[in-house]
């Protein structure tokens, strides 16, 4: 292969003011982080709620949870994104359409839509993790809590969920990493996150290899950081005297 590597490309001017290509990557990284973190917040809250619902004795609530999972887990992420981005806005009430399409800048409205899409998609997966975490607990825990007079809500809040979350930290870490990687689909609807900036740099400079090497390194570093943080969290929450709940 005859390719002229040029790592200095990141420090070259983009031709816009003082800007260099590295700035594009930093701005892309910030969008990627914002999308992933906001999406993760939605996924974690909604997923925990749905996962809890799936384990409740109430059939209606459990049914809603499992219908949600069926819908959001069985349709490809890209299809979901295109539906949210291209179709849903057109069926919104007039006032909301005006707000989304005219009042907000395209960047912000795109960000909101992609965040929502990522959050709802990942919530289905978080839901299943949380559900399995709760179901992995001995039945007697629920009975013991009930026998002490705790209500169902108290039982979940104080007894079941604290244990279930400890069990599912490792799979939840995977989902967290997934949402960061999945946020790259935003590049397909014009949001200038990390992948979009990478492609743009490649096209402007013809230094595709350097650009994608940089993107790879950034995604890798961010995800390693998340893994490290989550395993520290896991250690911190470790229960003394217990292996099953992440103890030793």
């Amino acid at each position: 292969m005859n390719y002229n590597w040029d790592w200095a490309v990141f420090f070259k001017s983009t031709g816009i003011g003082e800007e260099i290509y590295l700035h594009w990557f930093m701005s892309g990284l910030l969008w990627t982080l914002a999308l992933s973190l906001c999406g993760w917040l939605i996924a974690l809250l909604l997923g925990s709620l749905l996962g809890t619902m799936r384990t409740l004795p109430n059939r209606w609530l459990a049914g809603i949870g499992s219908a949600y999972v069926s819908l959001f887990r069985n349709v490809p992420l890209l299809v979901q994104l295109f539906v949210w981005y291209f179709l849903i806005p057109d069926i919104l009430p007039e006032s909301m359409q005006t707000w989304l399409k005219q009042d907000l800048s395209p960047e912000v409205s795109g960000f909101l839509i992609v965040t929502l899409c990522l959050g709802l998609f990942t919530a289905a997966r978080v839901c299943e993790q949380v559900r399995t975490g709760i179901e992995a607990l001995p039945r007697g825990q629920r009975q013991a809590a009930a026998a002490l007079g705790l209500t169902t809500a108290q039982t979940y809040r104080r007894v079941l969920l604290p244990q279930a979350f400890r069990i599912v930290i490792p799979p939840l870490t995977s989902e967290f990493l997934n949402i960061i990687k999945n946020s790259s689909v935003a590049s397909l609807v014009g949001l200038m996150e990390l992948l979009a900036q990478t492609k743009q740099t490649g096209e402007f400079t013809a230094n595709l290899f350097e650009a994608f090497t940089m993107a790879t390194l950034i995604y890798f570093t961010v995800n390693m950081g998340v893994m490290f943080t989550m395993s520290r969290l896991e250690r911190k929450l470790r229960v003394p005297g217990l292996i099953a709940l992440g103890g030793k």
Partner: protein, 244 residues
């Protein structure tokens, strides 16, 4: 205190309890025994509504357990229960295990709950372990904590569901000692157990169950003297075989 009237229960088409009737009076200790699968654990779990019944009626202190209008959490907070597998909450320290329901259910202050909890922990001989976690205690110690946890709620009766069945032999006595002491102090107790030594020592009545039915419901003296049913005689001869 506890009235069980013509109670029947089905799991699908399988009938686990067949027209069971009995009672436990205030201050009485009633031991429920019988072969495995005879429905004794199911029966005791019906008393505080952990298992639903399809027919009959259960009253605890004149409150009807199987009435949809009954506030079950409130009723349960006054009925202590000890489980075969202890069921301490593994993510909470021993002290927090003792305090959780006192604070959440009874609305006691943290300090009051802690004092009460520690006093009971002392009573079961485990005060030194207050800051440990359940996983750091032996089975016998965990079960004693579980008893203290139930007592902390100030129950008017206690249900024991095979409290020593999951224990190593050398730990059984430390748990039975606590239970004997409780019985001698006048606690109303319904105890599912195979520990006939315990029954002999403190029980007022013994109930023998087989295949979902109450076959014998007699005084301890009569039960150990001459059980009327052949099934109970067989059962006794098998489990007393090694004790005598």
């Amino acid at each position: 205190m506890i009235e069980i009237k013509n109670v029947s229960k089905w799991y699908g088409s399988f009938q686990v309890l067949k027209d069971c009737s009995t009672h436990v009076s205030k201050g009485e200790v009633v031991v429920v025994c019988g072969p495995s699968g005879s429905g004794k654990s199911t029966l005791i779990k019906c008393v505080n509504g952990l298992e639903a019944i399809q027919q009959g009626e259960i009253l605890v202190n004149t409150t009807k357990v199987n009435d949809p209008k009954t506030n079950l959490p409130k009723l349960r907070s006054h009925v202590g229960m000890v489980f075969q597998h202890f069921e301490l909450f593994p993510h909470l320290s021993i002290t927090d295990n003792l305090c959780l329901a006192q604070v959440e259910v009874l609305g006691r202050g943290k300090e009051e709950a802690r004092e009460k909890g520690l006093a009971l922990l002392d009573r079961v001989g485990l005060k030194a372990h207050a800051d440990k976690f359940p996983g750091q205690l032996s089975g016998g110690q965990q079960q004693r904590v579980a008893i203290a946890r139930a007592l902390a709620m100030g129950p008017y009766c206690m249900l024991f569901d095979e409290p020593t069945s999951a224990l190593d032999p050398e730990m059984i006595n430390e748990v039975l000692d606590v239970m004997v002491e409780l019985a001698q102090e006048g606690m109303t107790m319904m105890v599912v157990t195979h520990e006939m030594g315990f029954a002999r020592k403190v029980a007022n009545r013994v109930i023998f169950m087989d295949q979902g039915q109450i076959i014998e419901d007699t005084t301890k003296e009569e039960f150990f003297g001459s059980p009327r049913s052949e099934r109970a005689q067989q059962f006794l001869s098998k489990i007393l075989h090694h004790c005598n």
